[in-house]
Amino acid sequence: MNGPGTKMMSVTVAPGGMFGTATELFDAHTYAPPSRNGIDYDTARDGRFLMIKEPLPQGNANARTTLTVVTHWTDELRARVK
């Protein structure tokens, strides 16, 4: 993967050690990004990739595409935490 969670890249290897140019296969940003603790995908013989799809927004407060903005929050804070 080229860049954390960005693109799946491929380089062909010919007998004798001739390497091709890296080419993009697909956009991979919706899949688990690489971590320091191992690779989060694998490959099959037919060239398919076994991938982990990142958590999807659930349409509720846990949706990963939503931010909550609270104005005057520190006033609440002062009132609640003396």
């Binding site: 380089v11 296969l25 956009d27 990004p33 971590s35 989060d40 076994l50 104005t71 935490v81």
Partner: protein, 848 residues
């Protein structure tokens, strides 16, 4: 539109309503897997400028409102010439449908009245007048919906939600002090007037609920909604409309010149005070009505608290007598100023000086937060804008605007964005920047003006574990062999200086300079791995001292705000008293936000501005706990879902016969191996029951699984187990207690004789362990001063591909060496940083 029609990600399910201004459909949002309501402006009306204006007005109005008692707007869109709004789908019935069965009980009427008033107050504070409040535009929804703080003591069986802002008027919102402004302005001086959005004299709304000034086509403001609220209250308590007639003319005549039948005559058991509140709402002169919805809300709450005795002339406490007197004065209608004073007296003692507002910002379609392991959110100190990282670049969103915009020049997959103290700059880290022709990479700390321009490189450094910008200094945490602790760098190009070094088996994160820059507040954990941030300490330490003071155990992501220490534990934000110069907290911790997204680097996705505005991402805490899907993706990017339950998966590996998958299920509390039979979709635990943490599995040709196991005592071993799970695992090599350096199996050679694994931490090499030998001494395969990892032997056994990074970040350049003669040559095959996995195609060649 017919069921099955698609509007982008929305699939029409059924028509649920139609009216002059459009059709409303129930639809399914395939991305979010939820029901939505889609309001479509018909093609015929799309050409009508006024109809389109109304439609857009509704979108603008509702998009500014995020409130438990206002139907939420999720999205807007257009297909061909048809415009549509995507809104919260509400199950239940309209208040109108409910009233068709008769009046409500007093308690229910008061409860719904408070909720509607609360919603109107929210809208009015945003400068929005609904102008068409009526029972048909109030939905009573069932089950589980949230209520606002002021309506949390519920009695009614449902939640009221205000709908249909199609006739709403927008104007600049009043300031937070507007409540007082409105009250003080009762003489009519500064009640926020709103410029007519329609041609003068145009009548919009429903006559039965229309204020006199609205019927007359004159200028209207929030007090027209208060009139309508009075009508709705009247109808809820009596079961009859306040103004009815056989013709529109008779209705209008009633609105303009007649008073409705007194509530007490139709509903003798209703609290007299409620009758008076309704009467004040329905004063013909807007100046004689309540001047804000908040005042109505307070009145209704008070009546609800007082029960049926409210309004009786002999209250048992002096305070109530005073309230009654002021109510009576207010009811006199002519004593406008007295009404204002009375309303003020009715207010409870303020606990919070300014009333906070909550609203949601949803990323535009196609945007996703990136760098989930690091902080991707910041807010400017003045609270006027926030920045987030999505799709590998920084976006800015002005608080008072609807849209965000990308910041040119930041599309470098940045992380840990932060604002300068003056709010005019942003700083961020860009990992894996190629420094030279040799392909050496480093993380670069950059800054850029919020108005865009060219990013300025401040310094090269390592992977950030959180940073903050205080004065002219940026402090950041880093956990590499070069710098293991907290560093500081000027906000002009320079070199970072170490402020604090932490232990080799520790990691520091999220530093802030406090007490005038004399101390550093930060989090520190011991060891790594899932859940370790839950056990971290929030500490304070002076740069020139070795002494470190632990403020809180089991906490991370500290902030010092308004003399309170803010910290996070497993998705809950707590606060506890702390003076900046103290090395101790005082009082007890108080949970102040439930459900904040956390990251694997121990930070939470929240940011707090100096003006008190908070922005955060709601979530379940650690991202690692969130269920994920296993999918096949072909080389064109086409996805095929694998039949398997959704779990927080990591490290999937296909067996050599491709009939099974071994995969790690990782939560913040546990980490275990599981096998999945692809033909049946059945997931079974493979790890022995116990408290050890197992991960990084690889298959052997004979169908066994080699993995790493971290035992409860902290020691690490590489294990092997039969995939059937019938035999206990055997220890291949015991690595002992290795701080921050774990033996991660990465591949097995096709002949099954060699395992590659890595160490990771202060040194990282690709190691080899012979499996066909009794000698369990690992040998380095690739050993340089740089970090080498993800060493994978190709399926034909001729190549070793690996990742090389000089900073220990998750990505680096991809190299290939011949195998097993790895020292014979090496090639860099990537042109940009990446991670390695050896592919297998039908031709037998390899790809990375």
């Amino acid at each position: 539109m017919t069921p099955g029609t698609r509007l982008g990600p929305y699939e029409i399910v059924a028509l649920i309503g139609a009216g002059g201004m459009g059709e409303v459909y129930r639809a399914r949002d395939s991305r979010l897997d939820r029901d939505v309501a889609i309001k479509v402006l018909p093609n015929a009306l799309s050409a009508d400028p006024e109809a389109r204006a109304r439609f857009e007005r509704e979108a603008r109005a509702v998009s500014q409102l995020n409130h438990p008692h206002i139907c939420a707007l999720y999205d807007v869109g257009r297909r061909d010439d048809a415009e549509f709004l995507v809104m919260e789908y509400l199950e239940g019935e309209s208040l109108a449908a409910r009233l068709a069965r008769g009046p409500l009980s007093t308690a229910e009427a008061l409860d719904y009245g408070v909720q509607i008033a609360d919603a109107l107050d929210k809208a009015h504070r945003r400068g929005i007048v609904h102008r068409d409040l009526k029972p048909a535009n109030v939905m009573l929804t069932k089950g589980g919906a949230a209520r606002s703080v002021v309506t949390s003591s519920r009695t009614a069986p449902s939640i009221a939600k205000l709908l249909d802002f199609g006739l709403a008027k927008l104007a600049p919102p009043p300031t937070i002090a507007s409540k007082e402004t409105v009250l003080a302005a009762n003489a009519g001086k500064s009640v926020p007037r709103i410029n007519p959005a329609t041609a003068e004299g145009t009548i919009l709304g429903t006559f039965e609920y229309m204020a006199p000034e609205q019927v007359e086509g004159g200028e209207v403001d929030a007090r027209a909604d208060i009139w309508a609220l009075g009508c709705v209250l009247y109808e809820m308590i009596t079961g009859r409309r306040a103004f009815e007639g056989k013709t529109q003319a008779s209705v209008i005549a009633g609105v303009l010149s007649r008073d409705p039948t007194p509530v007490a005559e139709l509903q003798p058991l209703a609290p007299p005070a409620l009758g008076r509140v309704i009467r004040i709402c329905l004063a013909k002169d807007p100046d004689a009505r309540f001047q804000s919805s908040y005042d109505v809300l307070l009145q209704l709450q008070w009546i609800a608290e007082g029960g049926s005795a409210a309004g009786l002339p002999a209250p048992v406490v002096e305070r109530r007598k005073r309230r009654e007197r002021t109510l009576w004065l207010a009811g006199a209608a002519t004593a406008v100023a007295a009404a204002a004073a009375g309303a003020w007296l009715l207010k409870p003692a303020p606990v919070i000086s300014n009333v906070s507002e909550h609203w949601a910002f949803t990323l535009p379609e196609g945007q996703n937060f990136t760098r989930p392991g690091r902080r991707y959110l910041a807010i400017s100190p003045d609270g006027r804008r926030f920045a987030y990282i999505a799709n590998q670049q920084i976006y800015l969103r002005e608080i008072d605007q609807l849209d965000s915009h990308p910041v040119p020049g930041t599309n470098e997959d940045p992380l840990d964005v932060m604002f300068s103290p003056d709010g005019q700059w942003m700083a961020y880290f860009v990992p894996n920047v190629v420094l030279n022709v040799n392909g050496d990479t480093a993380t670069v700390l950059k800054k850029i003006r919020i108005t865009a321009g060219t990013p300025v490189n401040l310094c090269t450094t390592g992977f950030s574990f959180g940073a903050s910008w205080e004065g002219h200094t940026i402090v950041f945490a880093q956990n590499s062999d070069r710098l293991h602790g907290i560093a500081a760098v000027p906000d002009t190009p320079g070199s970072p200086a170490t402020l604090i070094t932490v232990g080799k088996d520790e990691q520091a994160a999220q530093p802030h300079l406090i007490a005038g820059g004399t101390r550093v507040l930060f989090a520190v954990r011991t060891g790594i791995g899932p859940g370790s941030w839950d056990l971290a300490d929030v500490v304070v330490q002076a740069p020139d001292e070795a002494k470190r003071t632990v403020l809180v155990n089991g906490a991370t992501d500290p902030h010092l705000v308004a003399n309170r220490l803010i910290y996070t534990h497993r998705g809950t934000v707590f606060a506890i008293g702390m003076e900046p110069r103290d090395r101790a907290t005082h009082g007890g911790p108080v949970p102040v936000i439930e459900g904040v997204q956390s990251t694997v680097s121990g930070s939470s996705i929240l940011a707090i501005a100096d003006n008190g505005t908070l922005v955060y991402e709601p979530g379940n805490g650690d991202l690692a706990d969130q269920p994920r899907q296993l999918v096949w993706v072909d080389r064109q990017g086409r996805e095929e879902k694998i039949s398997a339950p959704e779990r927080p998966y990591r490290h999937p590996r296909v067996s050599r016969d491709e009939k099974r998958i071994v995969v790690v299920v990782e939560t913040s509390a546990s980490m275990s191996l599981n096998t999945l039979e692809l033909s049946r979709g059945v997931l079974q635990r493979l790890s022995p029951i116990g408290e050890q943490r197992d991960d990084s599995p690889v298959w052997t040709p004979d169908g066994r699984v080699i993995y790493r196991s971290v035992r409860p005592d902290g020691t690490t071993a590489i294990m092997r187990i039969d995939a059937s799970g019938v035999s206990p695992p055997e220890t291949l090599i015991d690595l002992g207690r290795i701080p921050s350096a774990l033996g991660l199996p990465e591949s097995v050679s096709p002949d099954g004789n060699t395992l590659t694994f890595r160490t990771f931490g202060l040194a990282s090499d690709v190691m080899a362990l012979r499996l066909d030998s009794a000698d369990r001494t690992p040998q380095p395969l690739v050993h340089t001063p740089a970090f080498e990892f993800n060493g994978v032997i190709s399926p034909d056994g001729h190549w070793l591909a690996y990742t090389k990074s000089d900073q220990g970040s998750a990505a680096g350049q991809i190299y290939v060496r011949p195998y097993p003669n790895v020292d014979a040559n090496q090639w860099q095959v990537s042109s940009a940083p990446g991670v390695t996995s050896s592919g297998r195609d039908r031709a037998g060649s390899s790809s990375t």
